[in-house]
Symmetry: C2
Subunit: 322 residues, 2 copies
Amino acid sequence: MAIRQTDQTIHKAAWLYYTHGLRQDEVARQLNISRASVAMYLRKARETGIVNISTSTRMFTDDAIAREIEDLYGLASVWVVPHDGRALDPTAEVPIVGASVFLDLVRNGDRIGVAWGRTVYAMADAMSYADLNDVTVVQMCGNLGAPYSYRPDQCTMEIARRLNAKGLNFYAPLVLTSERLARDLRAEPVIREQLASVAHCNLALFSVGTLDEDSHVVMCGALTAGEIHAMRDAGAAGVIAGQMIDASGALLDCDYNRRVISADLASIRSIGKRLMVVQEESKFVPLVAALSGGLCTHLVVSASLARRLRDERSGGTTDRAI
Amino acid sequence: MAIRQTDQTIHKAAWLYYTHGLRQDEVARQLNISRASVAMYLRKARETGIVNISTSTRMFTDDAIAREIEDLYGLASVWVVPHDGRALDPTAEVPIVGASVFLDLVRNGDRIGVAWGRTVYAMADAMSYADLNDVTVVQMCGNLGAPYSYRPDQCTMEIARRLNAKGLNFYAPLVLTSERLARDLRAEPVIREQLASVAHCNLALFSVGTLDEDSHVVMCGALTAGEIHAMRDAGAAGVIAGQMIDASGALLDCDYNRRVISADLASIRSIGKRLMVVQEESKFVPLVAALSGGLCTHLVVSASLARRLRDERSGGTTDRAI
DNA sequence: CACGCGCTCTGACAATTGTCAATTCTTCGC
DNA sequence: GCGAAGAATTGACAATTGTCAGAGCGCGTG
């Protein structure tokens, strides 16, 4: 009760200040509290998403190159983050834009599939709190025991927390040692339901992984550097939700993939809006693979990746600097 | 070009200030402009919707009575605006809440049907600017020549302007002198298309009118006080988009309605989300009629109307003051 | 080329907001 | 019932922001 009272007061203070445009001292007088409390309540209101301040991301779609990439790759919407000279750390900027775009796409009642990775976690971290209702965040792939803070379940939970949503975690490892065990585990009701529920999402958020020595799957001990090289030789071009894809964006037919527990690509593709966010320059090949496979509908990339994407398809027409 | 440059600068300033949390002087340094200009740009960014500050309307749905009314009348969502003692002008508050709720419901790509009236215009006036894409606002009924600022076309245009949307105005009078002329006019391609396009909306915004001497239809000269009394005797209970409805919310079979040019009730009912906003105490009877006819799915009302609505249906159970 | 128009800059002051240590109020455990 | 830990609140000060007048600048025009 006491909590509800305070909660009500925060709402009222936020309403009077932000919607009616009163000054803090006027709000304080209205609510019979000190101005300092009003300032504190307002901070709380912003932190909890009771008040939402969002900046248009239109400036990132205004670039002509964004239009070109939409056309070349058949995407619904593309955001290009410029390398802004001195201004800001350019790569760190991509997930921030990604978070803004993501929040723009989310609605009450949504069901959201989330994969994992450095980029996804950076987005979660940059995401402001939102006051949504009835939103569910579903983890799209199994877990890794690694000590990273961007483990799949961490990504899911953190995003759910920010959105005031329910988090549906996956209680299975990402990769097992035998194909048989993976098959049996996938058949378990808890796991089967989780996997099935991905297809009922209407929004997905993920990045794409590389096949280098410092790729996640290696760092987390799922694969050795040697194995990953072998896979690259066998045609692997990138990693989506823990699964290897080839250059055409199709699931690679390999032993590793059969041992993975993750939402299959068809389920992911059945989700209406699929936002992919790619920041690292080194992810060009995986990115092209994912786009070829039609895995995403919305894309946030850096300007340099955008230029390379355009040149890849348009055969390198105009190529002047930003 | 010079304009685009400035526009870009406004976006960047807003981004750095609101998303990155820099101070105005830091933003000024980054962009090589004076701090005073930054302050100006930020104001512009807020005014044009490049930056959007919204406050949760949850406090208005938290009321138990809102839940009751949803259940009693089968509505998707109800907002109840309390009469807040000293705080704010209670009736003026309803359209402000309505505007917030409305903005919450709008999405990019939406097609929105708008009716007219004092309340709708008050909402337009209270509505903050939004940076939306590809939104269309459709006028749902014909025009009146009255010198009011809340003429149907004014409502449509003003809302379109605030949402950065395209406004589709209706170029016909609301009511004609003969039934034949109304029929002929409705058959005109321009008008027919306009009317048909209402059915393709996915969001509607309207209020409901009374049948008093000071009702809009009288004030605007569409009907005389005498005629409106006669209509009330004939079973008219309220006015929706310029048309008379009976107590069950059905179109009243009368000469006047046959002379009106407006979206028919079936089209309106085919729209997914229909937000009705009612502020005046005197609109209780029309409100009940509209609800009986299932004309809206979302409702914003004052606390006293809410209490009367509950008592109307639940047979007057608990009836303590707020 | 001078002119006026519209825009931005500068510098300064006033208004508003953020912050924090000190204080008051709550809520427990004993 | 008492006292202490902890949370909420406040007053006062510091930092930030809003605003304004006057100056400077670029540009299109007569």
